[in-house]
């Protein structure tokens, strides 16, 4: 019997989106000097709100406010700073439903993911670093580690609120103040977070949110009175920032692109490996820097595994991000969609076989079907360049050594996955793979206690865990 799931949309009534938003500087919402821009719902291309754009003068105001607030904030006992962070974490939990809907509206990701992954992790991050605030002496960075000062932070659009949490929570716990620029396509949850800072009674200037595009980000990273720059985004922009920061004495951490290998051995638990492959590349429409975008499958099980994978992909539900049964939401922007299309077309032209399940796409909005490329060679663009979309390139290997060689043969080194029931092989591979995170028999699992970061062109520095404190301490 055919069992159709009726639409089950999460209500939009829990969010109250204002027609326009200002910058959050020194505890107040203010106008911006730049030309305001619009944030669009990628699922139907409707305008959600008009957003102020910060120019250099606005960024300067924000940095000055942060500098002033730093004096008192850094002098607070850790236990006092912890109180604010715990309070923020609790407010995030209380407003989780609203924030999840807002995130899905602005970003296009399925409500199932914003509700079950993003928001719980955001709260967990604040709780985790709140716990460190009065224990910095025991973090292994000396008897009395000091904060750096003002942190300029630039975050991407793929996990807007989660990346904000990754940046702000450790910075504040260590006693820094921040000027944060959210991505121009997804500023709404960062602005909702500004309200949460007010709600939590956070002293003015400790957190400043400046919205805008690349120029605003350049002003944040380039400001002379910023002591620390943290960036998550593309390798291309990361290079520009590294260049602008070079020689200034600013501390820098970069979390950039990836082209992770998800390696499946013939003795893997096949059904769970299939789930891991799906989670690896189709979670968040593949807009994940650590996505398992290259599937390396042992030749002996290639046919069986691909058969199972295709059968599974046929059950993925693409559509309205607010429907609670949606697995794949909208691509975040027209620009990103164009990039995915270009690379997918290049894959076809270079001779790889393209496959997608039968998957009707909505008429409006930005959509791309889950796509599989087989017969991919290491030299193809789709095996080398980060696509940042729901596109999986399948390659094969014969021996464990070949798997390692192929997995490491990339300019990136952010993450990798290993699927085998053999424990000794997992340990051997974890040792050989040049990737900041190696997942064994799972993929895209995050925990605030676990450090995250890359090798090579995937960036430097670690976020999360005890290691994540180092980036915000003068050590």
């Amino acid at each position: 019997m055919r069992f159709e799931y009726a639409p089950a949309p999460e209500s939009r009534d829990v969010v109250d989106i204002k027609p326009s938003y200002g910058l959050f500087v020194n505890g107040e919402f203010t106008e911006g000097g730049g030309t305001p821009f619009k944030s669009v719902n990628p699922a139907d291309e409707t305008v959600l709100a008009e957003i102020a754009c910060a120019d250099e003068a606005d960024v300067d105001r924000a940095v000055q406010a942060a500098r002033k607030a730093f004096e008192t904030w850094s002098a607070l006992p850790g236990s006092e700073r912890a109180k604010y962070l715990f309070r923020i974490a609790r407010i995030v939990q209380e407003r989780a439903r609203e924030l999840a809907v807002l995130e899905s509206l602005d970003n296009g990701k399925p409500i199932r993911e914003s509700r079950d992954v993003d928001l719980p992790l955001v709260a967990a991050h604040f709780f985790y670093y709140a716990g460190w605030a009065d224990k910095l002496k025991h973090a292994g960075f000396g008897p009395d580690p000091r904060p750096l000062g003002v942190a300029g932070q630039i975050i991407p659009w793929n996990f807007p609120l989660l990346m904000l949490a990754w940046k702000i929570a450790p910075a504040l716990a260590c006693g820094n103040t921040v000027v944060l620029k959210p991505a121009e396509t997804t500023p709404l949850t960062a602005l909702a977070f500004a309200e949460i800072c007010v709600q939590a009674g956070l002293p003015a200037g400790v957190v400043n949110i400046v919205t805008g595009a690349g120029a605003t980000g350049a002003a944040v990273a380039g400001h002379a009175d910023v002591n620390k720059v943290a960036f998550t985004g593309s390798t291309e922009v990361g290079r520009l920032i590294a260049r602008s920061v070079a020689g200034t004495g600013k501390k820098l951490t970069l979390e950039l692109g990836g082209k992770a290998a998800n390696i499946v051995f013939e003795d893997a638990a096949i059904d769970q490996a299939v789930e891991g492959i799906v989670t690896g590349i189709f979670f968040n429409q593949g807009h994940v820097c650590c996505a398992g975008s290259r599937l390396l499958v042992q030749e002996s099980i290639q046919e069986e595994l691909l058969g199972a994978l295709k059968r599974r992909l046929a059950t993925l539900r693409l559509g309205d991000p607010l429907d609670k049964n949606t697995d794949i939401g909208a691509i975040n922007s027209a620009e990103q969609l164009a990039r995915i299309r270009t690379l997918a077309d290049a894959g076809e032209q270079e001779g790889a076989d393209r496959w997608s399940p039968s998957c009707p796409l909505p008429d409006k909005g930005f959509w791309f079907p889950p796509t599989l490329f087989t017969g991919v060679a290491q030299s193809h663009r789709i095996a080398r360049e980060e696509i940042f979309g729901p596109v999986l390139s399948v390659l094969t290997f014969r021996t464990p050594a070949e798997a390692v060689e192929k997995a490491n043969n990339t300019p990136y080194g952010l993450s990798a996955g290993v699927w085998t029931e053999k424990g000794s092989r997992i340990l051997w591979l974890a040792d050989k793979l040049r990737a900041g995170v190696v997942w064994a028999n799972t993929f895209n699992r995050f925990d605030p206690a676990s450090p995250f970061g890359g090798y090579k062109e995937s960036g430097y520095g670690r976020e999360g865990g005890r290691h994540g404190l180092e980036a915000y301490l003068d050590v």
Binding site: M1, F3, A6, D267, A269, Q272, E275, K324, N441
Partner: protein, 327 residues
């Protein structure tokens, strides 16, 4: 051609010409085959089952699911205190779950102990509801093969349409797969035309790898259905265990072309639980299994919750439990 199709599954198994024909030819080949099945990662299987449990089934989908779930219930009473009167009352409920609403479908079957089969058969004559009987020294299965076969034959002679047998878990856990296999084959022969459901008692098998192996073992031996539990051992049916069994029947059909049914039993109490199982079937084995011929819910208390939810969907109001019969 017709006559061959009517001979029954036992014959089909013995003439299996698939790659699996030789699997049961010796202890060694059987063991090698079962241990050669892909492993099951517990964490991943639990996650997948939990994720499917978050599907939101509302409005028309919920109405459809409730009626489907009712039609899949094996209404069960398996107590030492069962009496003919108790069984007759349950049979009346099985044929007409909600006497005030004839649009409610009948349940799939009733499930009773062998000595009560005649009473159930009489009470259900002409209703279309099947009579299932547990057999083979249910629930422990701790007796000789002769007794198990006799137990089965008597239930069938009394008119049971379906036999729910238990496997010898002791033999399975000791690695004596041949004994388990041969017992299922013998019971299958004794069951004749009756459909054979093989209870794995997954709560005693402990690991998902064992659940997968036991599923394949039962299917190779000719099971028409594989069933999770007796309901006498905790945990009874769980979503992840049912997921592993659904994967097994899906893969078994892909390999042999033969379709085997699945029956989770025990611990399914609410409409929400029942719908989670239907989602699991839909997205694992597929829509072919969304049919009382291929999927059953072994339960009793869930039926009243399904009826309450059904009435709520129809009228917009909940009626109290006093408006639903307790049988």
């Amino acid at each position: 051609m017709e006559s061959i199709a009517l001979v029954g599954d036992a014959v089909v198994v013995s003439t299996l010409t698939t790659p699996l024909a030789e699997v049961a030819s010796s202890d060694a080949t059987l063991r090698a085959f079962l241990h050669g099945l892909p492993g099951v990662d517990r964490v991943g299987a639990d996650q997948r089952a939990a994720a499917l449990g978050t599907r939101s089934i509302k409005t028309t989908a919920k109405s459809q699911a409730i009626d489907l779930a009712i039609s899949m219930v094996d209404l069960t009473t398996l107590e030492g205190a069962d009496t003919p009167g108790k069984v007759r009352a349950m049979c009346a409920k099985a044929a007409h779950p909600d006497p005030s609403d004839p649009s409610v479908p009948r349940v799939a079957a009733v499930c009773v102990y062998p000595d009560l089969v005649p009473h159930a058969v009489r009470a259900l004559a002409g209703s279309g509801v099947k009579v299932a009987s547990v057999a083979t020294a249910f629930p422990s299965g701790r007796t000789s093969l002769d007794v198990k076969v006799t137990d089965t034959a008597q239930a069938v002679a009394a008119g049971a349409d379906e036999i729910d047998m238990v496997i010898d878990r002791g033999a399975f856990l000791a690695g004596d797969y041949t004994t388990v296999f041969e017992q299922i084959v013998a019971v299958k022969a004794a069951a004749g035309e009756a459909h054979l459901k093989v209870i794995l008692e997954t709560g005693e098998l402990a690991t998902y790898d064992n659940v997968r192996r036991a599923s394949w073992l039962a299917m190779l031996a000719g099971a028409d259905f594989i069933k999770t539990s007796t309901g006498k051992v905790s945990p009874a049916a769980t979503l992840p265990v049912t997921l592993v069994m659904l994967e097994a029947v899906r893969d078994f059909r892909a390999t042999t072309g033969r379709m085997v049914g699945v029956k989770p039993a025990g611990g399914i109490r609410t409409t929400k639980d029942a719908i989670k199982y239907l989602v699991l079937v839909n997205e694992t084995a597929g829509e072919d299994w969304l049919d009382p011929a291929w999927f059953r819910l072994g339960a009793s208390s869930v039926l009243n919750d399904l009826l309450m939810q059904r009435q709520k969907m129809a009228t917009g109001r909940y009626a109290g439990p006093d408006y639903f019969t307790l049988d």
